[in-house]
Amino acid sequence: MADTSAPALRASTGPALPVIGKSDTKPTWCPGCGDFSVLAAVEMALKRLRIPSHNVAVVSGIGCSSNLPHFLSSYGFHAIHGRALPVAEGIRWANHGLTVIATGGDGDGFGIGAGHFVHTMRRNVDLTYVTMDNQIYGLTTGQASPTSMMGQRTKSTPNGVIEAPVDPIALALASGATYVARGFSGDVKHLADLVANGIQHRGFSFVDVFSPCVTYNKLNTFDFFRQRVYKLENAGHDPTNLGLAFQRAIEWGDKIPIGLFYTVDRPTYEDLEEVLSAGPLAQQPAGLAGRSTLLDEFA
């Protein structure tokens, strides 16, 4: 049994322990990369909720965006490409007193990790997944990604992408996510609100962020989005209506919505997993000492 002190279950007013901040590692992103805003928004959200940094685990896969955990003062797991979500789930189930945030890129989450994306959502695991969706593979220097637009020319598609992009928001709605939002790196305050509300939401929260890659994506730039995005909350959208959420999700063109598409209350996986009702797994006793009647089934 781990000799951890019991972390408070979801602290909204923080104890007197250091809340999250930047780590001593400076981000290595290209100047102007959208991911700086996502880091700032995650940090703002956690600070606002006053969650002490030792009770936070930030998990990522591989990609430029996935370097994010190194820049925060919390616990972190910088996993392999595409596997942030199953690692994050494992951490949640080992200790559901922790605030678990998964981060990564569109390639990481909707390409190599797409299977986990769907299944984590249908389980409604209580974690917050923030994707830095730049519609390109940044770290591998500019190949097409699952969210690259039809026709986009990249290093791997010199004649243009010829497959339809994944729609992460619609996929999340269809997969049973209980908090589905989209942010934009060009509006950090708005993004921080979406992340903070996502962290407070009980269940799987998904925040897809337009986070432009200024180096390799010359199509989906800050300007591209500044000209197109509008906020759902200003458009009278009802985020409790799944049908309307789908309609907004498939809007792509001159106007592209950001904000909260959908939210619903549904029991989390951790609520329904009976073993966890006895408290965080890491604090439950382990082993079979004194359980000799267990052997009777083999007699």
Binding site: N67, S74, H78, I91, G115, G287, S292
Partner: protein, 585 residues
């Protein structure tokens, strides 16, 4: 060895496995040691399946050769198995189902026609009862007392009650009585001796050992022959407080387990070679991030989907080589459920101590077949050490990957204040900071990388000393030394007394930890051997290749089997005679 072997066969869907398990359970309750072989195919209905229960006062380690009692539910069973009977065997069948011409009866065997269908019809017109009279007849011939049979039979129905149970008890008693009136017991019939034994499969033993070793989280994706581990664990999840997660695939399974371990619990996954192939990258991540995890690899015949219900030891090289780059791991290879229980405990101990993945190599033959243990061979009281070993440093900062002589660094888990770190699958320094991007190639960081590799790989040497060493079983100075790992050891152990009775003394070098190899022990055992025989269930003799690589010693004599079937003692005996110059017998 004075033993009895009872075999029954029929079509998939006939309930052969439960028939066989009931017989095996009866023997165990009589205080006998048992080995139970469940031979089946990858179909749910149709196809030929059979079960063999072997019982003896001395522990049998394999299914043995031949059969003394053969109950044929269909003609195909008779056709297939009549050539594999021991002298004095009794064949049970129902002439209403099929006839056996007198000329077809193997010499030395007796027929016992039992009107199983007629007996069943006394109780019900439904087909569900046809096995019970045959079961009764088998039990009588084997020397199983009727009350033990009836107890095991009613227990096999669990909490179900009602007509079906009553009918089964009646019909099996009728079959028992019929056999008593129309036949003597088999010459090899056994009788009760002492306290009952526990009967369990290798998978159950592994799951039980994992629970005793402190596992709190299992993630797994169904795959024969490893699924039994998840089944046992899921059935006991609430009672034991172990979270069991059927993952969406093996990629998720191992990543969940690594996440859970990072989160502060002992965690495991289990699979067969196909699923293990998917886990390879995450295995390296566990090695790189120094996160403990236990992975059970229960091999089946490959490559690819291979023979899903047949056994093989073809994945040794895969297990040793799984993952890009180099990182410490150990591979434990128990041969019998009793050892599998301990191996699971050892796997968790080693994984936590050395903060690295530990593989438990099983195979279908060990995972799915039954064997007995004495209650006192299963020690449940295993000390469980705390997971977090770090505390806040008096001065300076906490270094998760601090350089230490053993290579093991103090570990914190999320929730501990002041000990935050980032576990990185990229190369990192003692603090956990990446040295993979802007620092890569810069001279001081080049040195740091080498230092970090050295630190991790020191744990391999620690593991080499801490993992269960190879055992030399049997007399020193024997005519022949067998070399084996995993479940293959069983048939060898059973062949050794047969060979001894023929004047050929043998011993066995059982390589319980295949990796890292104790080449010092292996070398001295083999250099001192008069002759050696490598026995493996694979095509290329993978342990032999490893021994050659690690010791330079070539094992010239090899008995390799890759037809999907387990070894039988007679095969080992024949090859051992040949190698020792007693061939042509």
């Amino acid at each position: 060895m004075s033993d009895i072997i009872v075999r029954t066969g029929g079509e998939a869907g006939d309930g052969i496995a439960s028939l066989g398990e009931t017989v095996a359970r009866c023997f165990a309750r009589m205080g006998l040691h048992v080995f139970g072989l469940n031979a089946y195919q990858s179909v749910i209905r149709g196809g030929h399946v059979w079960f063999q229960a072997r019982a003896s006062a001395v522990r049998p380690y394999s299914q043995g050769d031949g059969a003394d009692v053969l109950y044929c539910l269909n003609r195909e069973t008779f056709e297939i198995h009549r050539v594999d009977l021991r002298p004095g065997a009794t064949i049970i069948y129902d002439p209403e189902k099929f006839a056996i011409a007198p000329g077809d009866v193997p010499t030395g065997a007796r027929l016992l026609p039992v009107p199983t269908l007629a007996i069943a019809r006394k109780y019900t017109s439904q087909a569900i009862l046809q096995n019970a009279p045959g079961l009764g007849a088998m039990a009588y011939l084997a020397g199983i007392p009727l009350p033990i049979l009836q107890g095991a039979l009613s227990d096999s129905f669990g909490r179900k009650a009602g007509d079906v149970v009553t009918w089964n008890l009646g019909a099996s008693a009728d079959g028992y009585e019929f056999a008593r009136q129309h036949s003597g017991a088999n010459d090899r019939a056994v009788s009760p001796r002492g306290e009952g034994k526990l009967l369990l499969t290798g998978n159950q033993a592994i799951a039980l050992g994992a629970a005793a070793g402190g596992v709190k989280f299992l993630a797994q994706y169904p795959m024969t022959p490893a699924s039994g581990i998840m089944h046992w664990m899921a059935a006991h999840s609430r009672d034991l407080g172990i979270v069991v997660k059927q993952a969406e695939d093996e990629l998720a399974a191992i990543n969940m387990a690594v996440g859970a371990s990072f989160g502060g619990v002992r965690a495991m996954t289990a699979t067969s070679g196909g699923g293990f192939s998917l886990m390879v990258e995450a295995l390296g991540m566990a090695g790189m991030t120094e996160t403990p995890v236990v992975v059970v690899e229960s091999q089946r015949a490959g490559p690819s989907t291979g023979l899903p219900t047949k056994t093989e030891q073809g994945d040794l090289r895969l297990m040793i080589g799984a993952g890009q780059g180099e990182f410490p791991r150990a591979i434990l290879a128990p041969s019998h459920p009793k050892e599998a229980y301990q191996a699971a405990i050892d796997a968790f101990r080693l994984s936590e101590e050395w903060q690295t993945p530990i593989l438990l190599a099983s195979d279908l033959h060990l995972s799915e077949n039954y064997a007995t243990v004495d209650r006192d061979e299963i020690a449940l009281n295993v000390p469980i050490a705390p997971i977090a070993t770090a505390s806040a440093p008096a001065t300076g900062e906490y270094l998760r990957y601090a350089y230490t002589p053993s290579g093991v660094s103090p570990r914190s888990v999320p929730g501990q204040p002041g000990l935050q770190f980032v576990a990185g699958s990229d190369e990192h320094d003692a603090k956990g900071h990446l040295i993979s991007d802007v620092k890569a190639g810069v001279p001081i960081w080049v040195a740091e990388r080498a230092k970090m590799m050295d630190k991790r790989m020191r744990k391999l040497e620690g593991l080499r000393a801490a993992a269960p060493p190879p055992l030399l079983e049997g007399p020193a100075g024997a005519d022949l030394t067998f070399v084996a790992w995993g479940s293959t050891v069983g048939a060898i152990r059973d062949a050794m007394p047969i060979l001894a009775a023929q004047g050929i003394s043998t011993n066995l070098l059982f390589v319980r930890t295949v990796y890292p190899l104790r080449s010092d022990i292996v070398r001295s055992a083999l250099e001192g051997a008069r002759a050696t025989l490598l026995v493996e269930a694979n095509y290329s003799g993978q342990l032999g290749q490893l021994i050659r690589q690690e010791t330079g010693l070539l094992l010239p004599h090899r008995l390799l089997k890759y037809d999907g079937e387990p070894f039988y003692p007679h095969e080992i005996v024949a090859k051992a005679r040949e190698v020792t110059g007693h061939g042509g017998h």
